[in-house]
């Protein structure tokens, strides 16, 4: 058979590699800023108290940047390099490759701008507002179409296991993203989740967990199966095991999401389902981990000399550790300690810094010399990077494991007389030294990343970049087309295309059938006393979302004594039926707020937002002075009421007409209460001026919302 000559597209790989490194450094820098906030809150409150730098806004920026910008571009780098070589085929469309690259970078740029501005949907790892959600879906499909098209025109009949991981990544992430992002837009940068309360929480964590599974895990496993054998120059330990690994992993992963909602008001059977599948996941995860490590059997001496292999060994080991820990954390008796604490944060950073980070850099150190046809600029610097990063991971995670474990136990501790041993704030001040150690760990890791980026950049200057790498391979022997076959006949001979089209058909059909049912039915409140928010509370809730309060405060009290004694009656599913989106949260850097309403006076909240530390000694909370000076935006209040009604919240027909009047009346009531507490310090005229000035401010709406929390089912004493 005649050999065909063609070129591999290295340019797209290079572009994605540059983007990975640049966004990686930026994403980690933002993470370091967020970590510093918690370690040195006084410094930040004193000197860096800007809206766009508040913890609640930069934490989502950090997670989005490292997941979608750093790891996302890392995925594309590895896939675009390996797919072409595994299939002996250039990417099917250079145009789609470019659309994928520039589209993805623009979305990231959009995130960098809009997240600090407070445009957020509040859903974890999916904070970007709806126009970006649509853009992500389109660009993702461009990537998938390019990949599948390339697979269809491939020159190698057999699809190497890495390609299976790439396909699963594309298909599943597309589905997860679309269903989790269902929302009703109010304006260009504001929307409400289509789901509410417990349903929204379930969709969110079905997505959230699978973002870990199919964005941070499966694509990187594909990269592992390509780059580890390549770097070691020996075949994977067991190809058969890799196939079993793949199929077992993807069938189990999708059901594990509810383990993020243990002890919440999610029905117990759903929680148990999540636990069972999470525990089962250890088998394929460890199968894959061992398969990766054993690939180096007989070549361990090379690990001593080769920085690429060092990075990969630590990456795979970190994968093994976090997939061992994951099932453990899914057990209810472990989860009751770990949930809402920094333990979870440490867990994800073993995965993020260890598995994704180290694998990315290992891959880059291998790729750059290949594509620039040279040696790495400095092997010594690569080793320095390796050790700084590895020590950085230890400094990062170990203190936080300890901090989380201790905080979880402190929350549970009772005195012999049945009272709680520790105030919440005691468990916060306890964490301070650990937070400082984390800053050190993060600084080390970031320093390593900068050294690595410098080393790779220098490598490009000493080598010559091969933009189009020549290759040759025999074409695939395709069946000849029958003369009179119809379109379906042609489709039947193209199984990939056929499967995808039928899958899309099934999914669309299912969605159309089920979404309306789920929306309509969920409107029926299971608790009669639970009422929709007043217009002012609704606006206050949107401020809560904008400032990202849910990044540090949960609104979900677990049904165990140490929680109910501290916070009050445990949370019921019926309480959040009108919450589009839910705001249960996943972390308690500050205390739970599910029953905050009525615990303190309006004036307390007014003062607390200005000076958290003044009212709560040792508090890490940022001050929000702009809430006292910024006017509440009421231009969309009526629209918001209508939107909520469309989503099924039972506002009376025509209530929009009265909404603003109600809003003002409630605002005046709260302002009067606040101003009355200042009587000792001001004259009557000054108080009146204060009242007029304050009643239109954001702080009033936020106070209204906070005072409403948990009031619906409060029993009067």
């Amino acid at each position: 058979m005649e050999l065909e000559k063609f070129n591999y597209d290295n340019k797209i790989v290079r572009n994605f590699a540059y983007a990975t490194l640049i966004w990686g450094v930026i994403g980690m820098l933002v993470g370091l800023t967020a970590a510093s906030w918690l370690a040195y809150p006084d410094f930040f409150n004193e000197y860096l108290n800007f809206k766009i730098l508040a913890f609640g806004r930069i934490r989502p920026l950090h997670t989005n940047a490292v997941i979608f910008a750093f790891v996302g571009n890392g995925i594309f780098t590895g896939v675009y390099y390996s797919l072409q070589r595994l299939l002996k085929t250039r990417m099917a469309s250079d145009l789609l490759s470019k659309v994928n690259f520039w589209g993805w970078q623009l979305i990231i740029l959009g995130a960098v701008i809009t997240l600090p501005m407070g445009f957020t949907s509040s859903k974890e790892y999916a904070e970007l507002e709806w126009p970006f959600d649509i853009a992500i879906a389109l660009i993702w499909v461009a990537f998938g179409a390019n990949m599948i098209w390339t697979i269809i025109i491939r020159r190698v009949q057999h699809m190497y296991v890495a390609i299976w991981f790439y396909i699963a990544t594309f298909v599943t992430v597309a589905m997860l993203h679309i269903f989790n992002s269902m929302a009703l837009p109010i304006s260009l940068m504001k929307s409400y989740s289509a789901y509410s309360g417990v349903q929204d929480a379930l969709v969110q964590w079905w997505y959230g967990h699978n973002a870990v599974a199919f964005f941070l895990t499966t694509p990187y496993l594909g990269l592992m199966y390509y780059f580890v054998p390549k770097a070691a120059n020996r075949p994977v330990y067991s190809y058969r095991l890799s196939i079993i690994h793949f199929w077992a992993l993807i069938f189990l992963y999708i059901w594990a999401g509810p383990h993020h909602l243990l002890y919440t008001s999610l029905p117990e059977w759903a929680q148990s389902l999540g636990t069972v599948f999470s525990v089962m996941l250890i088998a394929p995860s460890w199968g894959g981990m061992l398969n990766g490590l054993l690939t180096l059997r007989g070549a361990w001496d090379r690990v001593r000399d080769d920085a690429v292999l060092k990075f990969m060994v630590v990456a795979i080991t970190a994968y093994g550790m976090s997939t061992f820990e994951g099932p453990l954390l899914s057990l209810k008796n472990v989860n009751i300690i770990s949930h809402f604490t920094d333990w979870t944060v440490a867990h994800v950073h073993v995965g993020g810094l260890g598995w994704n980070g180290m694998m990315t850099f290992g891959m880059m150190y291998w790729l750059f010399p290949k594509m620039w046809k040279t040696e790495l600029f400095s092997k010594k610097l690569a080793n320095v990077h390796f050790w700084i990063a590895t020590v950085g991971i230890l400094f990062w995670t170990l203190p936080l494991y300890w901090a989380g474990f201790m905080q979880g136990l402190m929350w549970q501790e009772f005195n012999p007389d049945g009272t709680l041993t520790h105030e919440f704030i005691d468990t916060v001040t306890f964490l301070s030294p650990y937070y400082q150690m984390r800053v050190l760990g993060g600084t080390l890791y970031l320093t390593g990343a900068i050294i690595g980026t410098y080393n790779l950049f220098k490598t490009t200057t000493i080598g010559t970049f091969v933009a189009d790498e020549a290759a040759e391979a025999a074409p695939l022997n395709k069946n000849s087309r029958f003369a009179n076959e119809g379109w379906h006949g042609a489709l039947e001979r193209k199984p990939v295309k056929f499967i995808i089209l039928s899958f899309v058909a099934v999914a669309i059909g299912g969605a159309i059938e089920i979404i309306p049912v789920s929306i309509v039915d969920s409107n029926i409140p299971t608790i009669a006393s639970v009422k929709p928010y007043t217009p002012l509370e609704l606006e206050g809730r949107d401020i809560y979302i904008r400032e990202g309060c849910n990044n540090c405060h949960s609104q979900q009290i677990r049904p165990v004594r140490f929680e109910t004694v501290r916070y009050g009656e445990y949370s019921k599913a019926g309480e959040s039926v009108f919450n589009h989106p839910h705001l249960w949260g996943s972390k308690r850097t500050g205390p739970d707020l599910a029953r905050e309403g009525g615990k303190r006076g309006d004036y307390w909240h007014y003062e607390h937002m200005q000076n958290p530390k003044g009212l709560s000694k040792g508090s890490l909370m940022p001050a929000y002075p702009w809430m006292r000076t910024d006017d509440l935006d009421i231009s969309m209040t009526e629209k918001k009421i209508s939107a909520m009604r469309t989503l099924g919240v039972p506002y009376e027909e025509g209530y929009e007409a009265q909404a603003l009047a109600d809003l003002q009346a409630q605002a005046e009531k709260i302002t009067k209460e606040i101003v009355s507490k200042m009587e000792a310090d001001f004259t009557k005229e000054e108080l009146e001026a204060k009242f007029e000035e304050l009643k239109t401010k954001e702080i009033i709406a936020l106070t209204a919302y906070l005072q409403r929390l948990g009031q619906d089912i409060k029993v009067e004493k």
């Binding site: 057999h158 999708i254 790498e469």
Partner: protein, 54 residues
Amino acid sequence: MQIIYLLIGVSFSIALFFLASFLWAAKNGQFDDDYTPSVRMLFDDEVEKENINK
């Protein structure tokens, strides 16, 4: 909790998609040889002189 029907539906569709892919792959002979592919991927015959440098 009606949302569970949606999630189960979507998750099942994905599972069905993977099942169909698996059956196709098995029938297509993708798994007949569980050794050669692991070695073949190591060989990228470089056609050095024809590279277009930029």
